[in-house]
């Protein structure tokens, strides 16, 4: 946009690429659940490419001067600081939790799967789109990370 009245790129092409990448992401999430690193790396690559396309073209950072870049360049450093500052409080204290994520403590103090419809604590957290009582197969949905 800094270059007169011409956008300098085809909006339609970028839109199509974004659309295709979104479709690939969804398909990737459906068909490549295991191993986890393969799922995650494919999804992250797609997401980063999409984010970069939006940043460089739709937000026209590709055509901006350094002073605009200098406003957002420090943020990755701050992102790393935020992540590493948070990490010791949680990562190294995982074994101190009362119950793992995906589980709840019922009124008797027992740790139960939040998706288990046969437990007295049922009704707390049903799978989305399923009526109560059809979540058995999802009870084992809680996986490592």
């Amino acid at each position: 946009m800094a270059h007169g009245k011409d956008l300098g790129y085809s909006v339609f092409r970028i839109f199509i690429v974004l659309f295709v990448l979104t479709a690939i992401e969804v398909a990737w999430g459906m068909f490549f659940r295991d191993p986890r690193w393969f799922l995650w790396s494919g999804l992250l690559v797609c997401a980063l490419v999409k984010g970069l396309l939006i940043l460089m073209y739709f937000m026209h950072m590709r055509f901006e001067r350094f002073i605009v870049w200098s406003l957002i360049l420090p943020t990755p450093v701050l992102v790393a600081i935020v992540l590493f500052a948070n990490m010791p409080d949680t990562v190294f204290n995982g074994d101190r939790r009362d119950h793992p994520v995906g589980y709840v403590i019922d009124e008797t103090g027992e740790v139960v799967n939040a998706l288990d419809p046969h437990h007295p604590a049922k009704g707390r957290g049903q799978p989305h789109g399923l009526p109560a009582g059809q979540g058995d197969e999802n009870a084992a949905g809680a996986s490592g990370h």
């Binding site: 002073i67 939790r97 994520v101 799978p127």
Partner: protein
């Protein structure tokens, strides 16, 4: 009226030189880009940190958990994938609205901006529907940390989209009343930058929260 060149007095720097912008320094002390653009990017930098705080906390919590529910078992990925497509469409229409504003085409600006507002409102509507379905199934934020982080991240993003829709609506009303002439296209561009940022955040949120 004809004025002969001889009648024009010679340039006298002591009299005719432009008054400096600053009392002491004869240069403009502002940033070498449009001030509005500078301000919106500064604001977006703070927004990056805001969402980084949310996403970073989610990642750290998830990495620190012994188990984590599979999002595909708990969330409606298909509906949200459609919502992602919708938001990408709205970004494309916003680019077209900015382009029309730069060209001084008020009719085109109104058309594309109205489309952006409608599509943005659809996104918010679908998200509200998703929330209602989840809450109806008792998936409240206090069930576990999965739902707490889910509602925190998507909820704050939804509020940002709502703010963007309202902002675009204000620009649209101004355009209808012909208050956005070609030389003021920057008003549309600034709203567009915010809108694309919201889209960018959703692209990352969709991947991290719904698919991973």
């Amino acid at each position: 009226m004809n004025i002969s060149p001889a009648a024009i007095p010679a340039f006298d720097p002591a009299v005719d030189a432009p008054v400096p912008h600053h009392a002491i320094y004869d240069y403009d002390s502002g940033p070498p880009v449009n001030r509005g653009k500078f301000a919106i990017w500064l604001f977006l930098a703070t927004e990056i940190m805001f969402f980084t705080g949310l996403i970073g906390t989610y990642i750290v919590l998830r990495m620190g958990a012994a188990t984590w529910p599979d999002p595909a078992d708990r969330l409606a990925v298909n509906i949200t994938a459609f919502n992602t497509f919708i938001l990408i469409c709205s970004s494309a229409t916003m680019v077209k609205a900015v382009e029309r504003a730069m060209l001084g085409d008020n009719g085109g600006l109104i058309k594309w901006l109205a489309l952006t507002v409608v599509i943005g409102a659809c996104f918010v509507g679908i998200q509200v529907y998703e929330y209602l379905e989840l809450l109806h199934a008792n998936n409240t934020p206090d069930v576990d940390i999965f739902w707490s982080t889910f509602y925190a991240m998507t909820g704050f993003h939804g509020l940002h989209v709502t703010a963007g829709v309202i902002w675009n609506l204000c620009i649209l009303v101004a355009a209808i009343f012909r208050k956005i002439p070609q030389e003021k296209y920057m008003k549309v561009e600034l709203a567009g930058l915010y809108w694309h940022f919201v889209d960018l955040v959703w692209v990352l949120l969709f991947t991290i929260v719904y698919l991973m």
